[in-house]
Amino acid sequence: MSKNLARYGSFAALVVIVFTLLIFSWLAIEVSFPAFEATSGLLSTRLIPLEPFNGIAARVSRFLWEHRALDLTGQAFVIVAAIVCCLALLKSEEAED
């Protein structure tokens, strides 16, 4: 019973994979992605040039701190949550042997 179920499952997986492959290949060939078609004028103000290649990292990190500080703070809390999660999962209980 479970063997049949597993075979059925891998068949379904194959069908799903082929289906998505077909859809994505059709999309990629026929319809070009509407890249930045709906942008406003804001985009051009923040672009950084590609030329001094080793300057990109510094500029990106400055952008990160100057504009996305809220997300960085939230991310710090996610890391705290991950630490507490691992503590809760890996701490040995008194009841265990």
Partner: protein, 103 residues
């Protein structure tokens, strides 16, 4: 041809590889690797799209990728901790042995 098509194709391929990994593989650690592939496909899409204007890059997409990497790292860490607990109970990492709960 749109200069963007190769990137889209590779992102789609990576995503499908990740989904296939999740559906076909039976090992818990490999399932987590599949999740990582899915996240990285999305990150690749961000990075590729940031090069849209010729000669310039968009720092916005790069900062998003920076934070997304940390987020999926935490998910994988918790997943590995949970896989360790599963191993304690079942003495195996095979997901097929894990069907004691009904669907």
């Amino acid at each position: 041809m749109d200069p963007f098509t190769p990137f889209i194709v590779s992102v789609a391929l990576l995503f499908i590889i990740g989904l296939g990994c999740l559906m076909v593989k039976r090992d818990m650690v490999r399932l987590l690797i599949g999740i990582e592939i899915l996240f990285n496909a999305a990150n690749l899409n961000f990075v590729a799209l940031s090069l849209q204007t010729k000669g310039f890059i968009d720092p916005f997409a790069h900062s998003i990728v920076m934070m997304a990497i940390v987020l999926d790292g935490t998910v994988i860490a918790v997943g590995l901790a949970m896989a360790l607990n599963v191993y304690k109970h079942y003495k195996t990492l095979d997901i097929r042995k894990l069907r004691r709960l009904k669907w």
